[in-house]
């Protein structure tokens, strides 16, 4: 109880006192600013890092997926080119190695063809066509005798370029094949065309050798986008490719495409230099990036957890900072108020002393003048209305005396006098002082309770002044309580510095405004009965003795005045 009261600061901070009170709004703004700034400063780099990491990782991963595909496609093109080049060279070699007559002889041609088939897989037939386009001899599974190719496009091509390789076509044979035709001009100026057909099942075999992962697809198309081999996903041979052809390039490229099924995929492709073919390999992207997605989710979780941790930390730190700030602001304000209060009272004290002193001189004159008047009236036995005049003069002298007692008390509030400091037993002084009031208390049926701590250390102080302090406070308490009320006096050994004397009453209490002004001279709530100097003098004395006065009051419930007295005499 006592400690609670003692812990309270008197007076409370007053916002209208011209001291800037820091409003809660300002703390909120400050908190918001700090949180925002710290969050931005810590999350922005994290975000940047995460983004860079994301894109770098994606690029690396994409590269790692694309590169094998690119290498594979390049290698496979090489295989194709070697395959085709070998066959073209073989045909070309035969065309130039044998004279026309040998080639025109079907038996010879058949023998050559058998050797070819033995050395190189894939040859289906072999035919000799003379410069007019007539089929001169043929070895193979079909009966093509008597045909003339003079009007066919490929024949014109071979006449101009000397070599021709067809796209895949079905032809008469009803299975996909490729034609290789080579023109040779003999020493006698006669020219002929040797034409071989290659079975494209060899193409399928080369593609199969790529051994693509499931979901992948590889195939050959021509430059017009017509499939030259079967594709797992995009149609049979000679179907049109369901997506547009990528730009021609003899290097192996990887591009992102959207398949007709709407999936993202990597398309790796390369154009053949010597033939009308484009090798393509398609790998669906999601399966390719599966690992990347799982990494991305990890990354996201870590990022979010990091952000959350930062926010929590920032929030906590900001809370601590703001709390410290607020506490120090409050301490500062309370110190300022305490100081202002003390200064106000001391300047009022000086003013009171000055006024009292100045008033004393005219009072002295009035006193003497009135005294002289009384003397003169007293000396004249025949003075008319003598008694009435004397009554007037006495009233003047009585008023002067009243004025004198007021000025004396005012001076008492401010004066600095040599006090007689001696060790005092506070409990004894209190008991003595309460003795003065016991009769009045009895008369009004007010109970005076005491709860005096035992073993209180003696306090170095001035008995008369301490008694005056206790008497003042007790008088006020007695004035405040109704008949039959209670006054309780409690003493306590508060801490190493102070002894506390607490005088509690259950009287009328004081409003905040009264508490604020109660130590000011001439402030009174007793109307005609008081001078308003009691508490100001009490305050002055307690302060001079190095103590404190604390007030806790609630209107209608009572007042507790706690006086702290120092255990050691203040320095100086």
């Amino acid at each position: 109880m006592l400690k609670n009261i003692v812990g309270r600061h008197i007076p409370e901070p007053e916002p209208e006192n011209g001291v800037d009170i820091v409003s809660p709004q300002r703390y909120r703004i400050l908190r918001r600013k700090i949180v925002a700034l710290m969050a931005v400063v810590s999350i922005l780099p994290l975000l940047t890092l995460a983004a860079i990491n994301y894109y770098e990782h994606q690029a690396t991963l994409t590269g790692e997926i694309q590169n094998p595909l690119r290498v594979l496609v390049s290698k496979t093109r090489n295989s194709f080119e070697i395959f085709l080049a070998e066959r073209t060279s073989t045909v070309s070699l035969i065309a130039s190695a044998y004279p026309f007559e040998d080639l025109a002889n079907e038996k010879v041609l058949n023998r050559i063809f058998q050797v070819m088939r033995r050395e190189f897989v894939g040859f289906v037939d072999l035919a000799l066509i003379d410069s007019k386009g007539d089929l001169r001899s043929y070895v193979g599974p079909y009966d093509l005798r008597g045909r003339n190719y003079a009007e066919q496009a490929w024949f014109h091509q071979v006449s101009i370029k000397g070599k021709y390789m067809s796209d895949v076509f079905m032809g008469f044979r009803k299975f996909p094949h490729v034609v290789i035709a080579v023109q040779h001009t003999g020493e006698d100026g006669r020219s002929w065309v040797l034409r071989a057909t290659i079975d494209t099942s060899q193409f399928d075999r080369i593609i199969a050798a790529m051994s693509l992962e499931p979901g992948g697809d590889a195939f050959l198309v021509n430059r017009e986008g017509v499939l030259q081999t079967d594709s797992l996903l995009y149609g049979k041979v000679l179907d049109k490719l369901p997506f547009p052809m990528p730009a021609p390039s003899f290097e192996t490229n990887v591009v992102n495409i959207l398949t007709p099924a709407g999936e993202e995929a990597f398309l790796s492709y390369t154009y053949f230099a010597d033939a009308d073919f484009v090798l393509m390999a398609v790998k669906p992207r999601p399966s390719v990036l599966q690992t990347w997605y799982s990494v991305r989710i990890d990354l996201l979780i870590i990022f979010l957890a990091g952000v959350a941790a930062i926010f929590v930390a920032v929030y906590q730190i900001t809370n601590v900072i703001i709390r410290r700030l607020r506490e120090s602001d409050e301490r500062r304000l309370s110190a300022i108020h305490q100081m202002e209060h003390t200064q106000k009272l001391s300047s009022i004290g000086r003013l009171a002393a000055g006024v009292a002193h100045e008033i004393n001189n005219p009072l002295a004159i009035i006193n003497e003048k009135a005294g002289l008047m009384r003397d003169l009236i007293g000396l004249r036995p025949d003075f008319p209305d003598k008694e009435r005049f004397l009554a007037q003069v006495d009233a003047i002298i009585a008023s002067v005396n009243r004025g004198r007692s007021i000025t004396q008390r005012m001076l008492g509030f401010a004066r600095r006098m040599d006090v007689k400091i001696e060790p005092l037993d506070i409990n004894r002084v209190l008991t003595e002082t309460m003795g003065f009031l016991e009769r009045e208390a009895q008369y009004r049926n007010v109970s005076l309770e005491r709860e005096l701590a035992e073993g209180l250390p003696p306090i170095p102080s001035d008995q008369g002044q301490i008694q005056q302090v206790f008497l003042n406070v007790l008088n006020n308490a007695l004035f405040a309580v109704a008949d039959g009320g209670h006054i309780r006096v409690v003493t306590a050994d508060l801490d190493e510095h102070f002894v506390a004397v607490s005088i509690q009453d259950d009287g009328c209490g004081m409003c905040e405004e009264t508490v604020k002004h109660m130590f000011e001279p001439f402030f009174t709530t007793k109307k005609d009965k008081g001078t308003g100097l009691g508490m100001s003098i009490t305050y002055g004395i307690v302060k001079r003795l190095g103590g404190e006065i604390q007030v806790s009051s609630k209107q209608g419930e009572g007042t507790t005045i706690t006086i702290l007295l120092p255990k050691k005499q203040a320095e100086g």
């Binding site: 009292a356 002295a364 006193n367 003497e368 005294g371 003397d375 001076l411 004066r415 006098m417």
Partner: protein
């Protein structure tokens, strides 16, 4: 000694106060002299030392305590009753230390003053 023979000097800058006080003392058979500042008080003491001097502490110019000090130096037998405006002030105590006979507060109680004047005259035993 009869009050008529008391040699009293009243020193106060408040003319109305001190003249009225003098008149009241005269009514009681005394014949005090007056001075209104420290200089003239010292002069008066030098011319004819009084038995008792009633001296106001707060005066413009020379302060009461300075007057007291100088009077006590030149005429130690002169008894001084100090008048203060501030009760038991430091000035009062200081005055007592300097050898003042007594100090009184304004406004005065005349009977008390007269009693103290008598005591002072008796203590001084003449100038």
């Amino acid at each position: 000694m009869d009050v008529k023979d008391w040699k009293i000097l009243l020193v106060d800058d408040e003319v109305e106060f001190v003249s009225t006080l003098a008149e009241r003392l005269e009514l009681r058979g005394m014949s005090p002299r007056l001075a209104h500042d420290g200089e003239s008080a010292l002069k008066a003491v030098a011319q004819d030392p009084p038995q008792v001097m009633v001296l106001d502490v707060m005066m413009p110019g020379m302060k009461g305590l300075d007057v007291l000090r100088r009077v006590k130096e030149s005429h130690p037998k002169v008894q001084v009753i100090l008048l203060t405006g501030q009760g038991k002030t430091r000035d009062g105590i200081e005055g007592m230390k300097l050898g003042a006979f007594f100090y009184m507060m304004k406004p005065l109680d005349l009977d008390e003053l007269i009693a103290k004047l008598g005591e002072a005259v008796a203590a001084g035993g003449g100038a």
